[in-house]
Symmetry: C2
Subunit: 357 residues, 2 copies
């Protein structure tokens, strides 16, 4: 395992949820970025006992005013010297606007060096056609998109933001084009696209990425990878955290790194092909880590679930209690196994390559 961090000293502001137990939101993002050598400031938008996929939890939200106050606390003590920002789950439109104000302020101070601040925005709103935030959150995100550098919507969130219903590769590319042109987003990565496509193996997913050209045109690549037959939470949060590190690393390793790092959003020259983009290099590495961690989590799940069933049987619970118990224990078993798989974060084996669309 390599001991040298892949990036120079990088100070990141991470705004997302905190769970006491388990690995979603900042609970996974902070550890992932710290393990790769970043100095992470973690502003927690909630403190819940566990993620909401368990269907029951305790805890409280941080209000928009409290989020702003914590940021002011940083500012007054010279602690707002961030190179990058990652935002994930933010509860409600008012808090989304507050996160946007923070990003605008951090960016405004780099006017003379536009490459000195980079915002990775994961517009957490829902999945598989189901919205899990209020209706006013999507419009709040739309207003912020032009301030972000990379956005990481899933297929459903990309539809909500672009207004384009994604049913095939053509509409997917249309959605990306709308995000680049109308919403002025420099880089887009749509995570886990499940459109069937003739040249994909069955049970595969793809990630579609694009960095816009100077005229706002998409440069689209895709990375196809095997789907794992388990339901995980926190994968989007882990994806975002790793993108922060790997994007910075990929740009620093690009042939034109010196110019790139001076530019807003580190956007490559128009003559750089989609598959040669730093965004493609970063996404490949992120997916390699993800695939290793998810595979190991899935392997561990089976043993855990056997033990879980035994426990419930020993307790002799009613059928309803048993069903509820199994759901809870399955949720627990599906928590991403990060702390014991740090080598998969640091030195993943790249198995899936970006190809041109």
């Amino acid at each position: 395992m390599s001991t040298e961090p892949p990036v120079p000293e990088t100070r990141v502001l991470a705004i997302a949820s905190h769970v006491v137990s388990g690995h979603v939101g900042n609970k996974i993002a902070v550890f992932a970025m710290q393990s790769l050598g970043c100095d992470v400031a973690a502003l927690n938008t909630v403190q819940f006992s566990n993620h909401t996929g368990y269907r029951q939890w305790k805890g409280s939200r941080t209000s928009a005013e409290e989020i702003w106050s914590l940021y002011e606390g940083l500012k007054q003590s010279y602690l707002d010297n961030f190179d990058m920002m990652l935002s994930g789950y933010v509860p409600g439109a008012a808090s989304v606007e507050t996160v946007g104000r923070i990003a605008e302020e951090l960016r405004s101070r780099t006017a003379s060096n536009p490459g000195d601040f980079f915002w990775v925005l994961d517009p957490v709103m829902g999945d598989n056609g189901k919205l899990y935030v209020a209706d006013d959150v999507a419009p709040a995100y739309q207003k912020l998109l032009s301030h972000a550098d990379v956005i990481l919507p899933n297929q459903f969130e990309a539809e909500l933001l672009s207004g384009v219903k994604i049913t095939n590769m053509e509409t997917l590319e249309e959605a990306i084009q709308v995000l680049h042109e109308r919403f002025q987003v420099p880089h887009v990565v749509i995570t886990s696209v499940s459109l069937s496509h003739s040249d994909h193996p069955p049970a595969s997913l793809s990630v579609i990425g694009s960095s816009r050209t100077s005229t706002g045109k998409a440069r689209t690549f895709k990375i196809v990878f095997p789907a794992i037959d388990c339901y995980f939470s926190g994968t989007g949060d882990m994806f975002g955290a790793l993108m922060v590190v790997r994007m910075r690393e990929a740009v620093a390793n690009a042939p034109d790194a010196e110019q790139l790092l001076l530019r807003r959003a580190w956007l490559s020259d128009d003559n750089v092909e989609a598959v040669d983009l730093p965004l493609a290099r970063a996404a490949e590495k992120v997916l390699a880590s993800m695939h290793e961690v998810l595979t190991k989590t899935c392997q561990g799940m089976e043993i855990e679930m056997l033990k879980a069933e035994e426990t419930l049987d020993r307790r002799g619970v009613s059928p309803e209690e048993r069903e509820k118990g199994l759901h809870l224990l399955k949720s627990r078993a599906a928590e991403l196994r990060l702390p014991r798989n740090v080598q998969s974060l640091r030195s993943p084996t790249i198995a899936f390559r970006a190809v041109k669309m």
Copy 2:
């Protein structure tokens, strides 16, 4: 760097403060334990923008009721399956009592296997003669001590808990004896004792540890290490986190591991000498990691402070503003540099050995 975690899968409940920026409380403890392979549940007792050593901060406390509610949230979803617990800064006596109730509940479920739960209690109350909690906190901790397995007071906190004023090695040993006998504490480690002693080199500190015998007698060792001329925050929190991992590791590696792991507090047989205790092995490793991280932090500080002074000079601030600014920037520069020094956590070089008192 070794990639194998030093402990088997270990699930830890960590109850301490959270700061957005910097490395104290759970912000350092969670990363330290995760980096060594633990599955950590982080129950945050405050969310502050930064630690209070900056003399200004924003944020809010978690009430005793909220702490209990978060614990209930874990319990109702089978997420209270903890092997170990670490408690650090807890705001106020009511919250201290709540933390005690949590520990008692977790312990009560292991009645048939008393070695299956182990509580590392850092009774954070003050330092160098200065109390930074309310007066009713020390009595609240005294009531809990018999439920803890290891306590990690500094010299001042050991005085508060034992009621013995520590002025020399004799009174120090007396305080430890009181903690073992009257307060029924199995293991005591007094961190950073600064008593002068003829056989110590100048500018050295020591850690004094003891595991009681079956008759409540102290078995005391000391580890002397060079003091570093910098003021750090979060060292106690890092010490506690590393003790969790290294104590479990030391017990698992002890010749009598099998019997030890079945016993409450993993207490060694009476014939085991002080310097052969698992507690001594653990403390040696913890101090080795601490010394490496603190040395690297101190080295980095000088460069940071030069930059900081330049920044203030460029801004042309008033003398008062300059003094305040320097304090803030010094506090920032003194934040422990953990994410880029993970190898010092994982594989420290042991330089300071336990000796008999």
